[in-house]
Structure formats: structure tokens, C-alpha cells
Symmetry: C2
Subunit: 286 residues, 2 copies
């Protein structure tokens, strides 16, 4: 339970704002910490500061002023190269092993960030715990054909097989064949690839076909790295000629849910939340 | 053992020609069957005919004239949509279930093609059996750092986990993280993606880094769908900033081997053939 004020360390996108609003509605005091070059300027409608990568001293001082020990870290981040980060004195003093944080796969980095803040006495709070209504539940919007149901199961099996590896958390499946698997390009670029492959004739189907399947990977840090879908996912899925989207219930955040559902319904694109039980790194499980 | 004349059903690329030449050197009589719109015009240096998709009657008649019962099927194919194929009388008579061939994933289609020809009394011969010198053996060209060795093992483990699924057979691994996984776009476009991700700053490494790992998938039909690398793979791996290529020994054909090795050496790119034991659909195993 979060009793005191909550600081949201905000990367790019709308999610920090949505979570901020949901937390505010739930009665929390909210402060925003905007990551320069990443966070949306609209975070300024909350009490806020802006920090650059490496300005940990400035961050810690402000959190002390706000008397804030609970943090949400959310939003996209263009991770700068280590050599480009300007460290302030607070950062230099507090992170003898900061280099380790910025090496290796996402999982290592993110777990390292959580461990780093926790070692300084902060608690990292999962957005799901503050704004549970943002995550997908079991059920569906739109209708699903039997063959699509098989492709969905196939996709979740593939993601399950890949879960032990530090690799993407999404795939596009058509007729029980994985036509695309996500790497570091992310879900958006993977969907654009499907549209491209269709336009050059490398992927042909009779009408719309294919399901985007998305789930957390094993060990994924659900406190700070929740998989998401949003209106852009819907738009790209439509451009890619897909028939629907299947996501792990409780494991994927839906950003701008109202708009997502409207857009999906308009385009006759189904969205389904399926039970999914891969082990993640969230304290409370999924 | 192939005693009589051998017909090579030739899709795109140089491989049909290379295999033709290697088979000729090994003392076989060679005929070429060029797939219109796919095969290289150079196949005409062999005794040949050209056929379109669906001209099975024409193909069977010519094979009878050549007294040819052993076939190699090799090279890339732009699979036409079913509605675009013109079937001749021979095709209509001999394939009541042809529609099934053109549905589903690659594996189903390819196994179906093999089964189809075999049901008509032909033997599909693996290129490896005719031109074993074309496939990679265990060993390496260039030097491999310990960290790269770990990434290679990681990549083969990932391909092993994905092998039961009908999905790509290659990945790019950097520091034990899979940054790209191959779908239907194929190895070339996956490597172009890596170059693109570098150019937009989504992938940053200190100098060249990353290994292309490639292997057959489980159930892959080694008679008719051998994974390959060639000079273009080397060029794209260099553009993608990789440090090397790891392939399954005995399971991946090296097209234009001399040029491949020269190019790799020039660019200081390693190539390693590793033992790999996934179960494929080849009669003789790998």
C-alpha cells in the first residue's frame, strides 16, 4: 500500500500521464519527474521537476523535499550511450557500479534500476497496483474465428518457448505460422514490417489475417517494464492487415483504453485478453 | 545413390547453377527445369526447359523424355497466389488435393511438395548428397572472442527453443541478447533491419558487435529447403556491423564458398560451423 506521496519518473508517451491521473483519482498525491528529451511536456500539469540522465543528486534532493519514498517508473526511454551521460555529484557519489546498469539486455538494466533505487531506500511501485483498471482482463472485444483461436494459442506457446531468452515479447501469427517475431525493434516496427511485407507481395492472405500476440517475457520486470498496447498499436495492426490482437490478461497495459476499444470496434479488429502464466519478476506476480 | 540423370527444378539465385556444376563434376547427367519468373537465365547453359507454376503435365512429359526419376528442387521461389496459377491438364488430373499444398506454413507446403513428387514415383534428392562440399563443416574462419562464443551458444539455444515452431531459422545476438529474430522476411531483410536500427540509434554498440546465428528448424525439409548463406549474407552482415556468423555444421549451405570466405576475411568477419542436432525431416538426418 502506498500511503505517502507518489513520484512518477516519466519517460515518453501518454502512459505516465494516464497513470498520474488514475493515481490522482485514487487519492494519491502525485509528483512528476520528467526525463528531459523523453517525457511529454504535459507532465507539467502536475507538480514536477525535469531531470537529465545522470542527475541523480538533483533527483534525490527533490524527492527528499517532496518527502516521497514511493516511485513509479514508466514510459519509453531513449537510453543514452554511457559516454553521453553527464553525471552530477550525487550520481558519482551514489553509484560506484553505475556502468553495470547500462550494459547487457533490457532485463539486466531494468532489474538493476529497481535494485539501485531500492538500495537507496525507495520503493518501486508497479503501475498495475495503482491503476489496475489500465491492464487487460480476461475476455474479448469483437469476435474470434476458430482458426484465429488456434493461431492465438500457437502464438502464446511460441512466446512461452522464447520467454527464458532476453528477446521481444510479441509475434504475429497467421494460420499457426509465426510470420514475425519481435526483437529490439519493438512491436510498432514489427507491425510496420508486416505492412511492408504485404506491400511487396512477400506476405499474401485472402483478406485480413493474422493476430498480434503479446505477453510479458519470463523475468520481465513488471514494476518498471510493463508491455503495452495503445491506439498506435491498433492503427498499425489495421495497416498490417491483421484480424486481431491477443494479450496476456493482467500482463499488458492498455493505454488510452477507451480510444483503443473504439478504434478496434470501428475497424472490426478483435482484442482478446488471455490467461497467461509465465513467471515475471514482479513481487506480487501477475 | 543417384545412377540415372538428375533434373534440377530451379528457383531463383545462384544455388541451382552451383549444384548443377558440382553434380556435373561428380559425373551426373544434369537437366534444368527453370521456374519462369524465378530461375536465372544462366540455367540455359544446361539442357533445360522452362515451366510455369501449374504446368505439371508439361514437366512430367519432359521428365519422361529425359528418362529422369531423380529430382533436386532448389532456389528461391515467389510463391504465387493460388488464384494466379494456370493449371495445365496434367496438373488438374494429377493433383486433386493441390490446394492443400499451397496453404499453411512453409513446412507443410514443402513436405507436401516432396510427398507429391514421391507419390508420382520420383525421388527428391538433397543437394547435400550430391554436393556435400557445399555445406558448412565444423570449424571456423577468423577469430572468435569468448563473449562472442557465449552469444553463439545463446543464439543456438534460442533457435533450439523456437525449433518446434514454424518460424524463421536465424537470429542476431549481441552480448547474449537476441536483438532480431527472423520471421518470413528472411535473413537478408533481418540483417537490413539491424543496419537500420543502428542508423536510427535504436541499436548502439562500441564498434562492431553481434553474431548472425543460423540453423535448420526442427522438421525442416533438408531435401528441398536447405538454409543458406552466401556473398550477400556476408555483405549484409558487414553493413549490419556484426562481428561474425555462426551456422549449423552440415545444416546450412554456403553458396559461392570461395567468395564468401574471401569477403569475410577481408572484412575480418568470422564464420563458424558449430555442431547442431535439431531433428530435421531429411531421410538421412543431418
Amino acid at each position: 500500500m502506498v500511503a505517502g506521496p507518489l513520484a512518477i519518473i516519466a519517460g515518453s508517451g501518454n502512459l505516465p500521464l494516464e497513470i498520474g491521473s488514475a493515481a490522482l483519482e485514487a487519492g494519491h498525491s502525485i509528483y512528476m519527474v520528467g526525463l528531459v528529451g523523453n517525457a511529454d511536456p504535459s507532465i507539467e500539469k502536475f507538480p514536477h521537476i525535469w531531470v537529465k540522465f545522470g542527475e541523480l543528486g538533483k533527483l534525490f534532493r527533490q524527492l527528499a523535499i517532496w518527502e516521497c519514498r514511493d516511485l513509479i517508473i514508466v514510459g519509453g526511454v531513449n537510453r543514452p550511450h554511457f559516454s553521453e551521460i553527464g553525471f552530477d555529484l550525487g550520481a558519482v557519489k551514489s553509484v560506484p557500479n553505475l556502468t553495470r546498469l547500462l550494459k547487457g539486455g533490457d532485463d539486466n538494466v531494468l532489474n538493476g534500476i529497481v535494485a539501485f533505487f531500492e538500495s537507496h531506500g525507495y520503493t518501486i511501485v508497479s503501475p498495475v497496483d495503482i491503476a489496475a483498471q489500465l491492464s487487460a482482463s480476461i475476455g474479448h472485444v469483437g469476435s474470434i474465428k476458430e482458426s484465429e483461436g488456434k493461431s492465438i494459442d500457437y502464438g502464446f506457446s511460441l512466446l512461452g518457448a522464447m520467454a527464458p531468452f532476453d528477446v521481444g515479447q510479441a509475434a504475429v501469427v497467421i494460420d499457426e505460422r509465426a510470420v514475425a517475431v519481435e526483437g529490439i525493434e519493438g512491436t510498432d516496427l514489427m507491425l510496420e514490417r508486416i505492412a511492408d511485407l504485404r506491400s511487396i507481395g512477400r506476405l499474401r492472405t485472402r483478406g485480413r489475417a493474422g493476430v498480434l500476440v503479446k505477453a510479458p517475457k519470463r523475468g520481465q520486470n513488471m514494476k518498471i517494464d510493463l508491455p503495452t498496447i495503445g491506439p498506435r498499436t491498433i492503427a498499425l495492426a489495421i495497416e498490417a492487415g491483421l484480424s486481431g490482437i491477443a494479450i496476456a490478461a493482467g500482463g499488458v497495459l492498455i493505454v488510452e483504453r477507451k480510444q483503443v476499444i473504439e478504434k478496434a470496434n470501428e475497424a472490426n479488429l478483435f482484442i482478446v485478453g488471455k490467461q497467461w502464466t509465465v513467471m515475471t519478476a514482479s513481487a506480487g506476480g501477475m
